[in-house]
Amino acid sequence: MPSHPKLADEFIKDKERAKWHDQSLWFVRSKRDKAVHQLPEWELLREQASKIKSYVVSHLPDLLEEFEKNAKAKGVHVHWARDAKEHNEIVHSILEKHQVKRVVKSKSMLTEECHLNPYLERHGIEIVDTDLGEWIVQLQDKPPSHIVMPAIHIKKEEIGELFHEKLGTEKGASDPQYLTESARQRLRQKFIEADAGITGVNFAIAETGGFVVCTNEGNADLGTSLNKLHIACMGIEKLIPRASDLSVFLRLLARSATGQPITTYSSHFHGPAPDSELHIVLLDNGRSEIADSDEFRRSLNCIRCGACMNTCPVYRRSGGYSYSNTVPGPIGSILGAAHDTKANSSLPFACSLCASCTDVCPVKIDLHHQLLTWRKEIRLKGLLPLSKRLSMKMMSWMMQAPRLYQFVGKMARKIVPYLPRFLVYNPFNAWGKQRELPDMPKQSFREWMKQNHDRK
């Protein structure tokens, strides 16, 4: 898999786009701040959310059994899947049993993680993503680049072009209102024709056996209320113990994600509708391994609001695809490294350790600490690229020799200002890409100290 810097290079080639992407996400981050400041008890809420989630991870088997028991009592079919393959097979077998040919799906990062769409398509089932952003990337045959705003990286003119080609909208039309209306008309047909609806799960409640799905568009509700089969797919960490815990999480989720006070629809499903079937698939896929790790357990607190990516200076400037992981950004770098350390070994380095992600995380995941810990693990596992290993070695060698260090510093201060640009800004100086080196100081700190303090 290409490394993060390599893929980010592709993205920042188009400087205008990189800047536009950065500003779009900063706009969302600012909306988040505004919403958060409306609630004086914000920090208290974060603390409760974090405690509840920690409780969940330390009681996962009990809570899963409690959930299963209560869900079954309400007539829900509960399935368990160890990995993505088993998850897809279960979903397919349910659809097959009902002879389903057409499925509408609301946004679910879990089904992205499992690559459910191509799996079902291979088995002759039409599956349509109904979240507008997700549908746009599906029409492009691409994955989402953000977990809340899947098409945040695409310009409206490009969507206009795509819709013209795929839906027959007017050529050159790029008005979001017009494009959304065209999507509404086309997707209404899909909702009406569908034989089954698939949704993700934002929260599943052990105490009641029910679950909650949040959308702004109403697509999860339309997708599940017009047909007689609803399959909900969830990671085992999505559990919460009690219904009242939702009060905490629903106050945090949308404010953190988009700056809204709550999503437009927060739907609570407790049992199948009359004459209908409701299935829920519980997926592990590596989550139990993360639960077992003292360092990274808290990453399971994640409620997938996307706040950490919206604020991340690296994500904003490198785009979601540079992570080549279902979940990008700071939390994605942690989860990606946990899932396949070798393939994702560059991700924990896509971080400036500015800690902004940790500050905004509504469930208080210590994101930047975990990213730093991952770096150490990756070094111990011998997965650091040669360029990093060599430069670290050289630095360490120089730092251990004070005289050499002083000499090199002195020479650099003298020589660098007179060097031609091509010698300073070349492919060996990764730091000098897209930015200028600071001016060389006249004296070193040691010299300054001598002059100003030793005399006294």
């Binding site: 899963l64 952003g133 705003m149 409206k156 629903l250 988009t258 629809y265």
Partner: protein
């Protein structure tokens, strides 16, 4: 499949994860700090307006009818249905319909809401998940009638009112359906209702 269930549960049971406490959300140290509003109905109304919905505080169903008649979207609607007695001028009787697909041409639906939440502009609606549930999402425009006394300040108070003992469906509806998936431009009317009007009604209906 049962094998996977055992596999996952066994794996989790073998782990020794430090136990942590579940916080008591009812403890006064917390509840005293939840936000309150001097006039929850007004706060709800303002909040709903900020998320592109409309709240009208009225005396009775008669006044709802008057205000409905003034709404341009209601005036333009041909297929109207109502689940509130004597409310609106329904042209479609939905009570006998068993297939929700038959609702696809409903322009305006007048439906009951249970209670409203001041902090976020949401209204709780609930039903048994039968075909009538679809009306909340498939209708082009939706009006909800809620007793004026049923406005709670925040989500904690909301969940004190909710029980999930039986099979049911329920949702917090906060304004009309919307999306900002195209360059962050807010567009109202993505898949669900293009407009949402909440009537807070003083007298019983």
């Amino acid at each position: 499949m049962t094998a996977s269930r055992e596999h996952i549960l066994n794996k989790l049971r073998k782990q020794s994860i430090p136990e942590t406490e579940l916080p008591d959300l009812q403890q006064p140290e917390l509840t005293q700090q939840w936000i309150t509003y001097p006039d929850p109905s007004q706060q709800f109304s303002d909040l709903l307006a900020s998320i592109k919905g409309l709240c009208l505080q009225v005396k009775n169903v008669e006044e709802v009818n008057q205000r409905l008649a003034e709404l341009p979207v209601y005036q333009k609607s041909n297929n109207i249905c109502s689940l509130i007695p004597d409310c609106g001028q329904p042209t479609v009787n939905v009570n006998d319909i068993t297939d929700p697909h038959d609702f696809k041409d409903i322009d305006f639906a007048i439906l009951p809401g249970e209670f409203c939440v001041a902090e976020n502009g949401a209204t709780w609606i609930t039903n048994d998940g039968g075909p009538l549930r679809t009306l909340y999402f498939l209708s082009q425009h939706v009006a909800l009638l809620v007793p004026a006394s049923e406005v709670v300040p925040h989500m904690h108070a909301a969940y004190e009112k909710l029980r999930f003992e039986n099979r049911s469906f329920g949702t917090f509806m906060a304004g009309p359906s919307k999306t900002a998936d195209i360059e962050q431009s807010l567009v109202i009317g993505a898949h669900g209702a293009r407009s949402l009007t909440v009537f807070l009604v003083e007298e019983p209906f």
